[in-house]
Structures are given as C-alpha cells and as structure tokens.
Symmetry: C2
Subunit: 415 residues, 2 copies
Amino acid sequence: MNIDEIVKEANKAKIKLMGLSTEIKNRALEAVAKNIEKNKEKIYEANKKDLECAATLVESGKITKATYGRLKLDENKMRDMIQGIYDVIKLEDPVNKTLFARELDDKLILKKVTTPIGVLGIIFEARPDVISQISSLAIKSGNAVILKGGSEANNTNAAIFEIITEALNYVEGFPKNAVNLVFSHDDIKEMLSKDGYIDLIIPRGSNKLVKYIQENTKIPVLGHASGICHIFVDKSADFDMAKKICIDAKIQYPTACNAVETILIHKDFAHQNDLKAALKEANIEVIENPEEFGVEYSDTILNIKVVEGLNEAIEHINTFGSHHTDSIITNDNENAEIFMNNVDSAGVFKNASTRFSDGFRYGFGAEVGISTNKTHARGPVGLDGLCIYKYKLEGHGQTVKEYAAGEKTFKHKDL
Amino acid sequence: MNIDEIVKEANKAKIKLMGLSTEIKNRALEAVAKNIEKNKEKIYEANKKDLECAATLVESGKITKATYGRLKLDENKMRDMIQGIYDVIKLEDPVNKTLFARELDDKLILKKVTTPIGVLGIIFEARPDVISQISSLAIKSGNAVILKGGSEANNTNAAIFEIITEALNYVEGFPKNAVNLVFSHDDIKEMLSKDGYIDLIIPRGSNKLVKYIQENTKIPVLGHASGICHIFVDKSADFDMAKKICIDAKIQYPTACNAVETILIHKDFAHQNDLKAALKEANIEVIENPEEFGVEYSDTILNIKVVEGLNEAIEHINTFGSHHTDSIITNDNENAEIFMNNVDSAGVFKNASTRFSDGFRYGFGAEVGISTNKTHARGPVGLDGLCIYKYKLEGHGQTVKEYAAGEKTFKHKDL
C-alpha cells in the first residue's frame, strides 16, 4: 500500500477501534507480546543486518556510536519490550470513561465520555523498541497508528512490525490496518501533509527532528523540541539540599530532557562558592556564560547566573527556558508559591530534582512523551493524552424550540 | 504599539495574569461592565459612524444586509453585552483547580493544577459585542488576549476597547496590556505567524475566515469551519418524534452550525413519504441530491438520502459530515449505542435535536465556540477550554538517584 492507501485504511480502522472493548484490546496486546516472544530470533537476525550496515556508517562517521547503541537490541531490551506490553495490559482503559453526566432536563441526559483521538502518526529515530511500545499504547487507547522509523533500523522495524501484524490478524474482532509502518523518507513529508486524516503527530527523536516536524505540519504535534531546565537556588536555600539536587539534576542522566542546564543563584545565598566547588567536585564543568543562556548542553556542563532575586529568576526562566521543568530550592514558602505560579512551565518544582519530571515517576504507568505544548496535554503524557472526549446526549424526542421560546427551562443538574 | 510590541507586552501580562486571584479578576470584570454602562453613548456614536459607512457598502453590494444587522448595536445588544459580563463574574474560576494530588513518596507531593493557556488571539468579523464577551472570558480565565475585529466595525471596536482599557487601568493589581486590539488587515497575517507567542487562535466568523486561519497558521486553532450535521431516522423510529426533531433541527435556526443539513432515512422506515411531506409542509425545501452530500445549506433546505441501514448511515456521516453533531432517531437501544460509539463527532445524540449542541444548553454558562478539533477541546467549549494545567511538585530535597538505583521506591498514593 502507498501512504494514501495506508492513511485511508487507518481511518477505516479507527472507527472500529473506537468502540472496541477492553477485553479485545487486551487480548490483542497479549497476542502481540506472545508473538514477539515466539519470534525473538527473527528479530535478532533482522537487527543483525541493521547493525552490520550501521557499523560501516559509524566507521565513516555518518552515525554516532550512541545511535548504534540505541539501534542494538540485546536480551535486556527484548525482555523490557515484551514486559512493556504486559504492563500496558495492566493499565486502566482510558476510553469510555464518563467525565461528567448532567441532566439537562427531564429525560435529557448529557454525558461527556472519553474516546480515542483517531489516527496517530509516530515519527521516530534509531530505537526499534519504540514500535512495540507505541503500538501497545495505541492499541490500549483505541487509536490507529502510522509509524515511521529511522532508516538505519529498517530491517528490525519491518521484522517487529510483521510479527505485530501477524498477531493482530488472528485476534477476533480486532480491525485490520490498525497498526501501520511506512519506510521511505518521503513518507514523512506525506504524513505531515495529512491534516484531517492524521489527528496527532508524536515525534520521538532528536531536537532537530522534533523542530522540523513542528515547523512543517498543520497537524497538532505532541512533544518538546528542547529541554532547557533551571534550578533557582534562593537566598534561604539549604546548602546541602541545593548541592544534592543540583548534582542529581545534572549528573543522574545528563542527556535527559529534564536534566538541568542553568543554575540561577540568589546573590545573597551564603554558599555560592561552596556550591560551585561542590558541582566541580562532582565532575561538572561549571561555566558562567551569559551568551549561552538557553543552551541545552546534554552533557555534564552547567551554566551559572547570579541573580538579584526571585523576580529576575522567574523572568530569566520564562525568557530562556523551554517551559519544560524548573525547580526552586528554598525555605521560603511564599517565594516557592510565587515561583510555582509565575514560572510558565509544564513542571514547577519546589525542593526536588527536575529529573522527577517523567510519566513513570508521576505514576502514569506509561509515557507517550513529555509535552511543552500549551493546549491538549502538557508535561509527561500518559495514555490519557491519546484520548479526547465526545458529548453523548440521550433524549426522548426533545426539541430546542420550547427552550428558545421560554416554555421550558433547563435543569442542568449534575448526576 | 505595533503588533510585535503588543505581542511582547501581552506575553508580559500573561505571567502576571496567571497568578491573579479570583477577587481581582472579578473586580476587573465589574469595572469593565460599569464603564461600558457609563459610556454607552460614546459607543453608540462610534457605532453610528460605522453604520453610516456600512450603509453605503450595502448599497454598493460590498457587504450584506445581514452583516449590517450584526454590526448595529441597539439597546438590547448593549444590555446583553453588559449582562454578559456580570454572568461571567458569577461563573466558577477555572484556574487553580487541583485535577489530582498524588503522594509520589513520603513528603513528595505532585499536584496537577489548572492554569491559563497564556495569550489568546481572537479574530472576528462584524459583531462588535464579541470584544466585551471574549475579553471577559479571557479575564476570568487569566489569559491575555489580542483581538482583531472586522474593519467595518473599527470605530465601534475602538470605542469599546478604550472603555475596557480605561476600566482595567484603574483596577489595582490588574496587569497592563492584558487586553489588546489591533486594527489593520495585515495584523491578521502577523498574528498567525506568532507561534510560540500566541498560544491559541479562536476565529469567530464565516466558514471562509475560519478555513483561511486554519490553513495559514501553526498556532492551534479552536473552532470549526463548517457544521454539516445529520439525523439518521432508523427503521424503528417513532414517526411523530422523527418529524418533530427533524423540523426543529432545521427550522429553529437554519443558519446555525448545529442545524441539520442531511436526513438519512432507513429504507424500511414505514413513514418515509409522510416524513418528506411533513418537512415540506414546514416550509423546508426537500431535495434528494447525492451531489450535495456534505453541503452546508445554512438555509431551509434539507438533503435526503435513503440508506440500507445503520452501517451505511454511520459511514455516510463519517465521510460527509464535519464531525460536529449528529443524531439518531430510534427505538432500538443497541443501534443507538453503535451509532453513538461509531459516529466520530463532537456530539452524538439519540432522540434529540442537533440544536442542543451549545455551551449554554449544556450548562457551561459561557461558550467560547464549538470545536471540531480532535485534541484539546471538542464540542461546545466553555471557560475550561481556555485553560491547560501544570504539574506542581513539592519535595523536601529528594533526588532521582535513589529511585533509579532501587534504594527507594515510589508510593504513588492518590490523595
């Protein structure tokens, strides 16, 4: 099938997926997990082909060693991949939840009920385990999905996709073409042009990829291009706490999007030099470079700025941050409240590491991604973020005429 | 100020608006209502100027009589405008509501709290009363707003805007430049290019305007370009009910977006001809034209299609509808359930007129617009649709390291 046909078929599948029972969806997920388990060797073989090709690309400098590492599927990743599907089975079905029920009038009942969004477009890079992860989240949330992986992983992606499709085709009541994979680079452009047919794009990959996608589509994009997180060490901060949190927020996983990039220190914080020394001792390269405010180092480098006070810190973060996650270290509750209200970020923390900003740590059970959007979903996004709602109204022949004429009035009684 | 400066100032105002108390917001709204009341005559004078100009445009055929009518402010509209503001004061503050609170671990509390979206861009046509309506909704939801009205109403818009600004400038604690108005046609293009600085665009006007905006911006657009609503009269439908609902859905307000355009009749519905006759008797022009499926008549015209059954009806609606509001008339509960699950529209009704699809009728107290989007907000949108949320995490020095190392585990206990 070409991309137009795939989009068309996915839109047919989406209608059938919308009304699917939790039981069928879980049965589909189990079938997928079992088929991957059964066909592990096929996947390793395909992965071996990709790795051979990638090895020459590493040699010629066309891809990085890190990319090669992400591409490689080992026993651990395979186990996590399969376990991940069983974890999704255990999650609560996000669809068909009644968000509210209201008696508009006698025998005229309005319900706001969650539904799948429709068709998701997922564009990802090297990591082939994304296919099974995103497919399971899509299945559980009743969305059709069109996946486009990185070309370095084409063999692995195709193998996993075939195994998933084979499993789904045997599940009674599960629609065909719910999960789709496209291969060519041109397909990305095509996907991005399908507004009205693809309802949400989720990019998983480099800042560059995300930025490109955000700038080249009218379809809503869920995600974040960059993670420029801050910690503001207030005048009243406890030194040990500030040290511990700043080091954790940088060192625990320096390339993570929720790692800290700039530390803002109150000019009257007594341990300014001690803090800098502690950071250096933790093998962090400490710089003080105003030219690099808003730079995401993705490395053990921290930029430091001494600020006049809370207001400058807030303004700095709102100006140079990426509205991802920012934390204040303070013993002043009032300052903490002002900070948390006025910093315009998805996560605003008090006396905690920015690294907590994560769907699993928040207890969502799954994470679709972290969003810095201002509409739909913000912060770590769980299964809920793949749903919207519809209004179901059940009447007994009511018409608007009587209400418009004032002969009848609404009750608007919440049930 | 030029548009760049306005956008910049609005982004400053938005930060201050985010943390504003309900009290200050309501005080601001009251000041606005009182100042409009006090300066009614100024508004009428400005409106008179616009009307004189518009009268010549009607004569030369450049604007319609309907546009002239929407432009004209009379005593009733003025009273509604002022009352509308007092109504918004009474609405619950949508900001700073805790959507959930969770103990991630001892003394590590996560809260998901509603916040304003940020800066709204409102692009509207002839009706100058939109300014006060949207400004009040923006104020109540803590959003900054940039308004662009139709040029026919420039004098009226400017007068109302000045009166609003004058009132707001005297409210202690209320930020400057929260409400902004731009005038030139070029400003629309400029507004649409400000992604990252304007967070949500809400168009209020013709299908053409909405479509233009949707196709020319990367900013999320809340609204609907067209309202192509259907009624499916099932085999088991009660004839009197079908008649009553079909007539109401068309006649009660033929130009409304939630008026019905196409009636799908089950081939075995016994009263097919009676229904057609009844529609004609109600002065509806009944046509049966497959070429016009998906046409929004905005007039007392109904297209009719006889269908094989429920599945064809659902497929027709999902293909030709605008995902706005569709209703089934039936006595078969199972069919109703299938219809309501599988029709992919913001409103899916059973035995009720499509005209109920409306924020006031749903009991929202205010309506920003009706959305056919698949993300953020769908269906009639109330004040909630102008909000998003942020995650507030309060810790006592916790770092991620211990959890990653397995020394500590999360509790994830909902509070």
